[in-house]
Symmetry: C2
Subunit: 429 residues, 2 copies
C-alpha cells in the first residue's frame, strides 16, 4: 500500500484494515513482553560503567584533593573535584555548582518544595499565595509535570516548536502574570521531542522580564552530552552565562546528573545557578542534610577523570543507542512513510522519539500495542494532567530493548498506528 | 583541692583560681586544634568499613535476589534485602520499611516538609495552619531542633529524666493542644544525655491520646546497635509493635541509618512506620524520586550480610570508642569529682557525654576551651533556638580525636569548668 490513507475509499480502507488485522493477529499468540515506556539504559550500556566498581579497593585512599576524608560526614555542596567534573560537563564554573544525591529529579522536587515553604530569595512562600502557575512546553517530561501537579501548581501548556518553546507566548505570559513562577525546560535533546533550543531561543529566555521576581527557569540539562552522532551534534548555548550577560543572573536553575552516564540509580546530581541563588538554597541545604555521598562523588571523579573521559564514555553509549534509534526510524519510514498517518522525530541525541499520530488515536494505539505485549509510555503522559488535547502524542523510548526486540516492537507499533488510523478514518466516513 | 568549691571562702577560691589559671596558661602557647564538637567517627572507625570497597568488582553481578538489576532506575522504597537488613537492626518487619538515601536527617526533614505542604494522612497541610508546635525533650539533638525552627514550628521544651522525657508533661500537652503535631525523640543512648527510654516510657508513648490526629512521634533510632559494652547494654522496647498493640498503629515514624555503622556520608537510611503511613509517604516519594542508590544498598547487604554481621562490626566500633569514653570519665572524675561544680553522664552507648555545669557558666566554659584550641558543640545547641535556660548544658563528643588528644582536651575542659565555676562563685560573693 503506497498511497496516503486519506486518499483511499472506505472500501479500500476496509480491505487494508483486514490485511493489517491478520498481521496483528500473529503477534497476539506470541506472548511478547517488550518495553519502550521509559528512558532506561539497556544492560549493555550499564556494563560500560562496571569499571566504577574497581575504582576503590579496601586499600584505597579516600581523601580528596583538599585533604577531606570522604568517608566521614560533611562537605555540604560536594567535593571541589566533583563540582569541576560536572561543571565542565555543563559548561558552568565549579563555584556555581552544588552536588546532591543520586537524582536530579529529587533536586528539582526539593527546589519546588523549598519555594513552597520558604519562597525564593526572600519572596513570599508559594504556599501562602492563592495561585502559583508554571509554563509547560508540550509535549514534555511527565515527571516534571507530576511535581508541579503534586504541589497544586497550575500548569499552562506552551507549544514546542523545532527551535524550542513558543517564545512569543512565553514572553507574553511571563511578563504579564506574576503568578507564573517557573517554566520546565529540557533544552537539549528535549524529552520527548529531541529538540535542542536555538541560540535565539536561549537568548530570549535569558532576557525574559518576569512579572514575578521569584520566577525561575527550570533548565533540566539532562542530555548535555548524550549525542547519538560524533559529527552531527546539536549545540546549545550556555544559559547561566547568557543570563549574566543579559543582566538577569538569578533567572535560572540548571539541573544535571550522571544518571544516563554512569548508573541511573547510583549517579550524582547537581544544581548550577548564580551565587545569590546558591546562598538562598544553602540555607535550606544546611538544615536538610549533613552532606551527600562523597565516596560516590569521588568514585565518579576517579572513574571519568575529566570531560574527555565523559565524552569517550558517551561515545560508547552512542554506539549502542544509535543502531536502535536508526532501526526504529527505518521501520517507521518503511511502514508509515507513505500512509500519511503520523510524523516522528529523528533526534540527534537524548533518549526519545516523539510520535505524532492522527488526532484522537494515541490512546487507542498505546492500548493496541499493550494488548500484544508492547508497553509504551501512557498516551497523554507528555502533557500536564495527562491531558493531550489532541490525543496524538506518543513517546517512544528505544534504549532498553535489545535490537531484535526493538524491531519487533517497532513493527507492532506501526501496525497499531495503521490500524487505529484506519479505524479513525472509517469513523468519520 | 578536695573540698567542694561551694564550701570555700573567697580567699581560698581566689587562690585556687590563680593556680588553675597558671595551668591554663600552659595550653595557651600550644596552638592546639582539638575537636569534640560533632559525633563523627574517627579514622580508625572508618577503616573498619574499608572492606565495603571490595564487595564489588567490575566482574560483579549487581542483580539482587528478585532479579532486579540494581544498576538501573527503579525499585522505589528500596531492595527487599536492604529492608530486611535494616528491619532486623531496628526490630521491624521489612514491609514496614522504606529505604532512602544516605541520611536519616534528610528523611526527617522530608517528613516535616511533606507534612507542611501536604499534611499527614489527609489532614490539613501544616502550612495552612496558624500555628504548629513540636515537643522537644531537652537537652536534645541540635539538628532536630534546626529542622523544626527552619519550618517556623514552635518548640516546647520537655525535661529529660533518667528514663526518658517527662511523660506527665508530654501526655498533658499532647492530649490538650491540637497544634502539637510531633515530638523529637532519640530513644536509645539519647543525644546528648545517653539516656535510654524505659519500658514504661515507651508504653506511655504508645498510649498517647493526641488532640491532633496528625500528631506523630519522631523516633530517631540513631544508636540502636551502638553499644559501648558487650554485657552492659541498654534495652529499648520496640515502639511500632507497642503502638500497634495499644491500638495506635499510625502514631510513630521511626528513623534509622547506617551512618555510624558503615561510612557516615555514604550509608543508607530508612523510615519504618505503619502501612497507612507508608502509603501516605509513598504518594510523595513516587513524585520526588525514581529511587535511591540501590548499588549502595546492595553493597551494604553483601558486606554486613545480616544482623550478626552488623553486631560483629559494631563490636569493633565499641573497642575503639570505649577507651575514649572511659578516658573522659576518668579525667572528669579525677579533676571534678570533689569540686561539686558539674555533673556528667556515663553512657553505655551512643556518641555523647552530657555535662551539666553550674548554671550560667556553659557559654564561658565553651569559650574558654575554644581560646586554647578545643572546640566543643556551642553552648545552647542542645536546646531549641540555642537557648539553654540555665546556660549549663555542654555536649561532649569524644569519638573523633585520638585518645591522646582526647585526654588533653578533657583536661582543658575540666580546667575551664573549674575556672569558670570559681568566676561564677566569686561573682555572687
Amino acid at each position: 500500500m503506497t498511497k496516503p490513507y486519506a486518499s483511499l475509499s472506505p472500501a479500500e480502507l476496509k480491505q487494508e484494515l483486514d490485511a493489517l488485522k491478520a498481521q496483528y493477529k500473529v503477534y497476539q499468540n506470541k506472548d511478547l513482553r517488550l518495553n519502550m515506556s521509559r528512558g532506561e539504559p539497556c544492560p549493555e550500556q550499564l556494563d560500560l560503567s562496571m569499571g566504577m566498581m574497581d575504582v576503590f579497593s579496601s586499600e584505597a585512599d579516600l581523601h580528596c584533593d583538599d585533604g577531606t576524608d570522604c568517608r566521614n560526614y560533611g562537605v555540604l555542596g560536594g567535593l571541589e573535584e566533583a563540582k569541576q567534573l560536572l561543571g565542565s560537563m555543563i559548561e558552568v564554573p565549579a563555584d556555581n555548582i552544588m552536588i546532591y544525591g543520586n537524582s536530579s529529579l529529587n533536586v528539582m522536587y526539593d527546589s519546588i518544595s523549598r519555594s513552597m515553604t520558604h519562597g525564593v530569595m526572600g519572596n513570599t512562600p508559594w504556599c501562602k499565595l492563592d495561585r502559583v502557575k508554571f509554563l509547560c512546553p508540550v509535549p514534555g517530561y511527565d515527571r516534571h509535570f507530576a511535581i508541579t501537579e503534586y504541589f497544586g501548581i497550575d500548569m499552562i501548556n506552551v507549544p514546542m516548536n523545532s527551535d524550542g518553546p513558543d517564545m512569543d507566548m512565553v514572553e507574553g505570559l511571563v511578563s504579564s502574570d506574576a503568578a507564573i513562577k517557573g517554566i520546565w525546560c529540557v533544552p537539549k535533546y528535549s524529552n520527548p521531542t529531541g529538540v535542542t533550543y536555538s541560540e535565539e531561543t536561549v537568548k530570549r529566555f535569558a532576557r525574559l522580564k518576569p512579572a514575578a521576581r521569584d520566577f525561575r527557569i527550570y533548565w533540566d540539562n539532562a542530555y548535555s552530552v548524550h549525542h547519538l552522532y560524533e559529527h552531527r551534534q546539536a549545540y546549545l548555548i550556555e544559559i547561566l552565562a547568557e543570563c549574566k550577560r543579559a543582566g538577569n543572573p538569578d533567572l535560572v536553575y540548571k539541573f544535571t546528573s550522571t544518571s544516563k552516564i554512569s548508573f541511573p540509580g547510583s549517579g550524582i546530581a547537581a544544581i548550577a545557578t548564580s551565587h545569590n541563588n546558591l546562598e538562598d538554597i544553602r540555607r535550606q541545604f544546611a538544615i536538610q542534610t549533613i552532606g551527600h555521598d562523597k565516596v560516590n562523588q569521588l568514585r565518579h571523579v576517579r572513574f571519568f577523570k575529566d570531560l574527555n573521559g565523559i565524552r569517550e564514555h558517551m561515545r560508547k553509549h552512542a554506539d549502542i543507542l544509535r543502531p536502535k534509534f536508526e532501526a526504529v526510524e527505518a521501520i517507521f519510514s518503511e511502514d508509515l512513510g507513505d500512509c500519511g498517518v503520523g510524523e516522528w522525530t529523528n533526534p540527534l541525541g537524548g533518549y526519545f522519539i516523539s510520535f505524532e499520530a492522527m488526532p484522537g488515536t494515541a490512546q487507542a494505539i498505546v492500548r493496541r500495542c499493550k494488548n500484544v505485549g508492547v508497553e509504551l509510555t501512557g498516551a497523554g503522559a507528555t502533557y500536564p494532567y495527562h491531558q493531550d488535547p489532541h490525543d496524538s502524542n506518543i513517546r517512544i523510548a528505544p534504549s532498553y530493548p535489545s535490537l531484535e526486540d526493538l524491531k519487533t516492537a517497532a513493527r507492532i507499533f506501526t501496525l497499531s498506528v495503521r490500524i487505529e488510523s484506519i479505524n479513525k478514518l472509517l469513523e468519520t466516513v
